[in-house]
Symmetry: C2
Subunit: 143 residues, 2 copies
DNA sequence: TCTTCGAATTAGAATAATTCCAATTATTGC
DNA sequence: GCAATAATTGGAATTATTCTAATTCGAAGA
């Protein structure tokens, strides 16, 4: 399990050659470490420009490929706010997202202890939810 | 208030010249009546082609303009599933959306009696939510 | 009714995020 | 080391949506 400790995220070199059956190529390690490093929900473009610092030859297509690989292997979450560009989040714990309308900043929001979907939604019986996305927008405090 | 009775949705001609301070032009009436008529969460393109049946001269840009006017006046809701094209929904009651992965069909899902956000989310104090979108994906029954 | 003026509509161009493609390069298993 | 497979690359293509500039509409007043 990759550490989510905010104080020390792994450098690309510290990432193992394979995670959860996903072969960690140089580029995937770079991209993953970028997403792990600054947990500010970067867009693919953000990840691209950050990755370029250490790996100037990486291409945007590769960043998209790597993000897609990481997302489909459940190592990173893809976060959408309406029709804005997708963002990427390494926090795998059950949570949703709140965007401060003033600054655009995105905050992770956790569910209260012990709540689950069926508790607050009138889901048709037999429904199997494979994917859930909750996105909030608004203001914080007096801003 | 526009009737949401599933059995009889208003024809464009039946819509008033103004709703909630929004001037209902011929095109807006057409677009609105299309969204009210088939509550299948059509995309802008769907609305465009349906509108063209009665009004062959309407343009796609106008459909986008009209939808945007209707959405920003709170007469229609814009519904997003990840990065798919936006869909439009005339159901203004508090609800969210479930997409059947097999068919792509979108179903309205209502909240259980009396639940509200603060009950299940650990929102930072002072948070004012202006917009909330909950999108589910999955399968229904044995499909 | 005629005129005026702001708003709405239109067609088509522009934009921007993302995906696709074909060629090259890296990696794995033998 | 060699073939087979997978990943990367740059650039082109795609697609939903927005923008632009010109035209048309429609309400309000003369």
């Amino acid at each position: 399990m990759i550490s989510l400790d905010a104080n020390s995220s792994p450098t690309p070199e510290e990432l193992p050659p394979e995670i959860d059956g996903l072969r960690m190529t140089k580029q995937r390690r770079e991209v993953f470490s970028v997403v792990l490093a600054e947990r500010d929900h970067p867009t693919a473009n953000d990840v691209f420009s950050r990755s370029q610092k250490r790996m100037p030859t990486i291409s945007l297509a590769t960043v998209y490929n790597c993000l897609e690989a990481l997302v489909s292997h459940g190592l990173v979450r893809q976060v959408n706010f309406e029709r804005e560009p997708s963002r990427y989040c390494p926090n795998l714990s059950d949570h949703c997202h709140f965007q401060d309308e003033k600054t655009g900043t995105i905050h992770d929001v956790v569910f209260k202890e012990g709540v689950n979907l069926a508790d607050f939604l009138e889901l048709p019986q037999g429904t199997e939810v494979s994917h859930l996305e909750i996105s909030l927008k608004g203001r914080i405090g007096s801003n």
